[in-house]
Amino acid sequence: MTTSNHQITTDPGTSLVSRRAFLKVSAIAGGGILLASYFEPLSALEPGAVGARDRNGMADPALNAFVRITPDGIVTIIGKNPEVGQGIKTMLPMLIAEELDVDWKNVRVEQGDFDPTKFQSQVAGGSTATPTNWLPMRRVGAAARAMLIGAAAQTWNVPAAECDASMGVVTHTPSKRTMTYGALATSAASMTAPDLASVTLKDPKAFKIIGTRVHGVDTKAIVTGKPLYGIDVTVPGMLYATFVKAPVFGAKVATANVNELKAMPGVKHAFVVAGESALSGLLGGVAIVADSWWETQKARRALKVTWEQHPTSQQSSASYAAQAATFASQAPQRSIRTDGDIDAALAGAAKKVNASYYYPFIAHAPLEPQNCTARFVNGACEIWAPTQNPAPGRAMVAKLLDLKEDAITIHITRGGGGFGRRLNNDYMVEAAWIAKETGAPVKLLWNREDDTQHDFYRPAGWHNFVGGVDASGKLSAWQNHFVSFGEGQNFGSSAGINGGEFPARFIPNFSLGASVMPSGVPMGPLRAPGSNGIAFATQSFIDELALAAGKDPLDFRLDMLSSMIPDPPATPGGRPAAPGFDGPRMAEVLKVLKQRSGWGKRLPKGTGMGVAFHFSHRGYFAEVVQATVSKSGTITIDKVWAVGDVGSEIINPSGADNQVQGAVLDGIAQALGQEITIENGQTVQSNFHDFLLLRHNQQMPIDVYFHKSTNAPTGLGEPALPPVVPALTNAIFAATGKRVRSLPLSKHDLSWS
């Protein structure tokens, strides 16, 4: 084995942090070459990013890429990150294959197991994979290509500089001799690994794979019904489990007729689980284990269970709303950011606007219900899980079952949708506990009602705004009292806001404060966490201020974006601005959107266009919705235009278009009809009849355009979602004159005459 360690001082393209990287190369017994690239892990991602790590400085080097080339010419690349529909299993290998210069037809992608001794970060969240892998993955491919060229040059006894490689073949240019990568793979393993920092990367103009529409590596398996998902896992001798938790979050079992259940056909075990107190872990409930999952459901119908009293049963959506209204009438509990003199600016404003906005809890509702398969053999635990985030799941299982982490193996399966739900691992600890208790391999599967009623919901939020515009129609003051959930100085999961959130830094007199109330409802990140609610409130209120200023809503936004304050004063309790948010860059996106959407054209009464933009996960998105509202108040969305700047290259346009269209439709579904309500500490909604997902007949044409910039490419799983919600509500205002200040739209009477 040859190993070379090289220092990479900076990754200028990623705009993240300096990292060291090195390559380990070895020969495969039986022929071929194995390449593994390692990095120093990211010291930290920016605040608010899902999956952010709080490690500091050097930690163990982490495997980032793993590539095998065998004598048959097949290149096998391990997909390390969980695939939940975001396209990562296809996209990351494209980066390696591009620089390796191999025919994509000869690339195979295998899902890697969770293995922190090999891989540093195996998480699907925060749209982070693109920016963190854009250069490192390409460097691995380029290094491998250089070694294959070196091996050919050595074989032919010619200078490497006289050789070139393309599509899996090395050519000695003067003599036109050729050798395939397969034929060279074994000898390449004895070449010295090149310096990853100085390998030559392709000029993007020469890309053959990046920028082409590469199909999902699992698409064929999907359309032929192959087993791919967690729910499809089968283990010999496996039993099936259902786990009934209290409707009130966190309540424990008082009594249960488990002995009666055990006498039912097929039922092998029925027992009470005491559970723990953390909502993200093992809760109290009744486990039913049977020969078939259907029999667990029949037994469940015969279950007679009573639950202990729990304080969360005193909470409801109505009690939260009442508390939020009380907060709104008071000063914020704390200040998050203050710039300039908000009171003076509001007092001196030519026009002042007050408005309060609200968005509800919503569920993730991935179509594959939560599930997990687990078995114990000789004190070791093996788990199959459609998880977006295996590391904390393994830590929880280890703690709960008093196992060493390395006694737990996690196989990451494809996930039937994630949207952030599978960043939590509650199903994993449940399956592990039940498998240990029963002594048999167990597949735990939730039903849809479990999935709807035991989610980690997108937190509800309230924004109480006061804004002022001066006599020239310029925005002069912005005050927001944000009301959310949390305790003391801490916001609940995904319930926060940071001091860099737009329009901070773009208004001289700015004040953001917050008040929080405790809640017993589980909360967590949902696609574009934070942003998916904040954008609605912020971009709707901007529309109100544009109206007050007598300005066109799009031009008013362009004016705001041109007023970036370069060095805002430091404020106590304030947090840094969202990294990289660049007003002029967003302005360029808005200008393209203005032109593509035909903004400003005359539309009949009842039809209107709305615009909004939002920066999240390093992505710049602006969107226009054209909607028609009938006199009786029925909404038809005529068309959506989405323009995004996510850097210099769209790595896989097929996946990219799909993500943007999906995010747009996801946001529209949220706005139209999605709401989780809490009564007596439990979720009211239960299935797709009362938690409404979008359907075929609600789709509309979506124009997706990527405005390329000179910035390094960034991720697309999330940033296209937030702007569409306010773009829709702003369109409804344009169509009807009715300002929508709360979601979902299904609760509003939008009729007009």
Partner: protein, 171 residues
């Protein structure tokens, strides 16, 4: 109880609880995992199979009631993944997470079997019982149109592709 189920042209014996829905007989007794569970309430369409050619929510029908019927699942849509819809789905790279796509394909196959050239409205009417949580609806619609073309080209000349396929190439 033992049931004799004719699935994708083959008679199979399933040893199952008497009232088990067809979905679970297929998945857990016959180990055919292509048909998916989404809601258990005929709300999402992930479990769609054909019974004598009619798209049916297999989570709602007792397996016993499907005896004597021709049951077609995603595994039997074609022997080798070459049904016009499977080709079109691949060509347009429809899936995101992919979980609903078996049900989408089965509903679409029933539509195409009786309507060679469905309009957008026909597609909406036939497909609105099938939820795609990732909202790949624009691609599903385009792929059904494309499959109709593939089918038409196949029945005319036995020849390959039409013209409106995957644009391809860098942009």
């Amino acid at each position: 109880m033992k049931l004799r189920l004719k699935v994708n042209g083959q008679v199979k014996t399933a040893d199952v609880p008497e009232d088990i829905p067809l979905l679970w007989a297929l998945r857990d007794s016959l180990d055919m995992k292509g048909t998916k569970f989404g809601c258990g309430a005929a709300q999402c369409g992930a479990c769609t199979v054909h019974l004598n050619g009619t798209p049916t929510r297999s989570c709602q029908i007792p397996a016993a009631a499907a005896q004597g019927m021709e049951i077609t699942t995603i595994e039997g849509l074609s022997a080798d993944g070459t049904h016009a819809l499977q080709k079109a789905w691949d060509e347009l790279d429809v899936p995101q997470c992919g979980y609903c796509q078996a049900g989408q394909l089965m509903s679409a196959a029933a539509l195409l079997a009786k309507n060679n050239k469905p309009t957008d409205a026909d597609i909406d009417a036939a497909m609105s019982g099938n939820i795609c949580r990732c909202a790949t609806y624009p691609r599903i619609r385009a792929a059904i149109h494309r499959a109709a073309e593939i089918k038409a080209a196949g029945s005319k000349a036995g020849a390959g592709a039409g013209t409106s396929g995957n644009p391809g190439g860098r942009r």
